[in-house]
């Protein structure tokens, strides 16, 4: 391209192409294989799970919101071939790995209590009336392990059981309500509400 000045914008657009218009196959050097809901796809290495699914041809309606780790829409569970462990990830914030086989959980059915914030008093009372099942917690730590935000979920549930609202609010502050804590909980709590 000739002239120098006007051409800055073109250069910028060119360098951003992969995130703006989708990826061009000819620019890819490293490929990996992943499996989406049981079907295998070859995708470029280095993409997020979300970008890789789009590359494979999926156009999201569900499971995609902020694309930046703030909304909890892109809840994903996966295993890597040969590893027994079940892992969790935000599709928009996690790099694809060779041998990943995944599914997405776009919605969590969970109860949410209604309340009048002006009538609540701090302490244990509101929890016992609004979310009595909180007492069922077994201390298994599954919720904490499922959290993509590294929140100590079990600990804030414990704080709630003691009526320590301040600590509970502090510990759960970074919650993006993605719901897998509730899906994994053997005691059927809805931690994120």
């Amino acid at each position: 391209m000739p002239e120098k000045d006007n051409n800055i914008m073109d250069k910028i657009a060119e360098s951003n192409k992969s995130v703006v218009t989708g990826i061009d196959e000819k620019d890819i050097e490293h490929w990996i294989t992943i499996s989406i809901l049981g079907s295998e796809y070859k995708v470029p290495a280095g993409l997020t799970i979300m970008q890789a699914m789009e590359f494979a041809g999926y156009r999201f309606v569900r499971s995609c919101g902020c694309r930046a780790g703030f909304c909890g829409a892109c809840t994903t569970v996966y295993r890597i071939v040969g590893d027994y462990r079940l892992k969790t990830a935000m599709a928009c914030q996690t790099r694809v790995e060779q041998g990943m086989y995944l599914t997405q959980i776009p919605f969590t059915p969970a109860e949410r209590a209604n309340y009048d914030i002006d009538k609540l008093s701090p302490g244990i009372e509101p929890f016992l009336t609004l979310y009595p099942e909180i007492l069922r917690c077994l201390g298994c730590n599954s919720c904490t392990k499922a959290c993509p935000q590294d929140i100590d979920v079990m600990e804030y549930i414990a704080a709630g059981k003691r009526g320590d609202v301040a600590l509970m609010a502090e510990l759960s502050f970074d919650c993006i309500q993605w719901g897998l804590c509730a899906m994994r909980c053997p005691a059927e709590l809805a931690q994120y509400n």
Partner: protein, 551 residues
């Protein structure tokens, strides 16, 4: 590209540049480049995407004919509707309500709560969302919300800062409403239980932002929007106000002069719904996903300019369509998070922009357009940027300086979101700087309104990013979440007032849309483009090339 060796998340060659930043840090600690003069600002703005030649054209039809807009926006204004009109049955609305709210970000959700508070029955309100309620730009706001609530500050000062930032193009009456209501909004948020950062003595922590002459940025760590939306949406749910998800509005309905409802489309099942409403509040947010001039964006998946398109067809007046806000510090590395936002608060707390030679080259808190342009100049004119393995250029944002100035642990405490985001890709922003480049952030202009959010079209209100005027041609940080809350509240109250005057439902027609199509044809716009686009399309090129439609 040959196999790259990575050290601490960076390829070896980038590591060398990082060493330069790390070595020069102590020297830069007490040095800040001086702010630019007006002439210097004008000079650097020549490489800003808004001012660089090309990229825009004038709108060829409608009330704003002749106004300039980015090509990507003009393309949608000059596009045909998704429906023709005869395929939808307008004679039997699926639901009749007093108030229809389109878009559930901060603005729309706040509007619902306030309308209900001022007497609109909850079952006479419907909030519709394109995605989930909360999949919105609002939830992503990191840096904070402005409000002049300290002794050394005043709404008048706030006004002057905002109008200066907007290059004196702001609409004064709406801006006045913004700054005057700000303290009240802070009180409301606190009453709803929002947890803002506090000093030891319980007063708000307040920080500076680009273009502010006083410290008035209130933040909830770097999850301000998440917290604000969380408490307001909880209040919304507690009031049991009805809402729909995955049901975008694809066209407004009018009786020929006033807005009387809307056509909704179910993104999953493909059927439509007709909603009849006495009043409509449009709160659909911005347009980052149009990727104006090929820039990446900070915006959520549904930020596709729908509201502006719909309102314009119904006869609403737009303003300041010619400018776009690029945030100076979008992530430029790693590839997975290109374009995502690194809040301005990082600079507010000491992080310096630094070039490849380890020089602090610009005052860190210039207005956003100036700051962004100076990054572009550093990378593409002065050739002082760093090139990433994918060919992007960027400058460093020296985040470890925050720890040096404010003490160890500050980053984890004040920027948990940022820290976590980079950590997922093995990058440690406490120890190493991050690479940044401007990213498309905010729709400055939009639908014009009065101080109560009323547009020139009867029964249509606007609130939030879809509106235009408050910020003129450039918005300052922290004024947009504020804008949503102030005008969410004001539109809610205004509609409640309006409904008291015993308004009747109007006829449901699409004549305005059909007339618009006639205008498009008369203007010779021969295109297959359709709008609103609802969602962007990032599918792989190879797959798209082989796509067939068989059922």
């Amino acid at each position: 590209m040959a196999e790259l060796k990575f050290i601490g998340g960076y390829p070896e060659y980038m590591r060398k540049f990082i060493d330069i930043v790390n070595k020069t840090r102590a020297k830069r600690k007490d040095y800040t480049p001086i702010a630019m003069t007006m002439e210097q600002r004008d000079e650097v703005l020549k490489v800003h995407p808004d001012y660089a030649p090309g990229g825009k054209r004038s709108i060829s039809i409608g009330l704003n004919k002749g106004d300039m807009a980015p090509n990507e926006v003009a393309d949608l204004i000059e596009a045909y509707p998704l429906i023709q009109g005869n395929e939808v049955d307008l004679t039997k609305p699926d639901l009749s309500v007093d108030l229809l709210i389109i878009g559930g970000g901060l603005a729309g959700t706040a509007a619902a709560v306030w309308a209900n508070d001022k007497g609109v029955d909850k079952d006479q309100i419907l909030l519709v969302n394109k995605l989930r309620h909360g999949d919105a730009n609002s939830i992503m706001a990191e840096g904070g919300t402005q409000a002049a609530d300290r002794e050394n500050d005043s709404p008048a000062r706030h006004f002057l800062d905002a109008i200066g930032g907007g290059h004196f193009t702001n609409k004064p009456d709406v801006l006045r409403a913004l700054v005057e209501d700000a303290p009240l909004i802070m009180k409301w948020l606190c009453d709803l239980g929002a947890i803002f950062d506090r000093e030891e003595d319980g007063s708000f922590v307040e920080k500076a932002g680009g273009g502010t002459s006083r410290r008035r940025m209130h933040a909830c760590k770097d999850y301000t929007g998440l917290e604000e939306l969380r408490v307001i949406r909880d209040e919304f749910r507690n009031r049991e106000i009805p809402y729909l998800e995955y049901y975008p509005v694809i066209e407004l309905l009018t009786d020929g002069s006033r807005v009387t409802g809307a056509v909704l489309y179910n993104l999953e099942t493909g059927d439509y719904k007709i909603i009849q409403a006495k009043a409509t509040i449009l709160a659909t947010g911005g347009f980052g996903r149009l990727h104006v001039r090929g820039f990446p964006t900070t915006n959520h998946y549904g930020a596709t300019c729908d509201g502006v398109v719909l309102a314009y067809r119904a006869g609403a007046k737009l303003r300041d369509t010619d400018t776009v806000q690029y945030h100076p510090t979008g992530a430029a590395y790693p590839q997975q998070i290109i374009g995502l936002l690194l809040t301005e608060k990082l600079r507010g707390m000491g992080a310096q922009p630094v070039n490849k030679n380890g020089e602090a080259f610009v005052f860190p808190l210039e207005p956003r357009d100036v700051e962004a342009a100076s990054f572009i100049r550093e990378c593409y004119v002065k050739e002082n940027g760093i090139v990433t393995p994918t060919g992007m250029r960027g400058v460093w944002l020296d985040t470890p300086m925050i720890e040096l100035k404010n003490g160890e642990g500050t980053i984890e405490k004040s920027f948990p979101g940022m820290f976590r985001m980079f950590n997922r890709f093995d990058l440690d922003i406490r120890k190493d700087p991050v690479l940044v480049f401007p990213t498309l952030h905010y729709q400055n202009g939009g639908v014009e309104s009065d101080p109560w959010g009323k547009t020139n079209v009867d029964s249509l209100w606007v609130a939030g990013e879809v509106s235009g005027g408050i910020h003129g041609k450039n918005r300052l940080m922290g004024n947009s979440t504020l804008d949503c809350l102030v005008f969410g509240r004001r539109t809610g109250i205004s509609v409640a007032e309006y409904l008291k005057s015993d308004v009747k439902h109007g006829k449901l027609m699409l004549e305005h849309m059909k007339n618009y199509v006639t205008m498009l044809k008369q203007a010779g716009i021969d295109t297959t483009r359709k709008a609103p686009i609802l969602l962007p399309d990032y599918r792989g090129k190879a797959v798209l090339a082989r796509m067939i439609d068989v059922f």
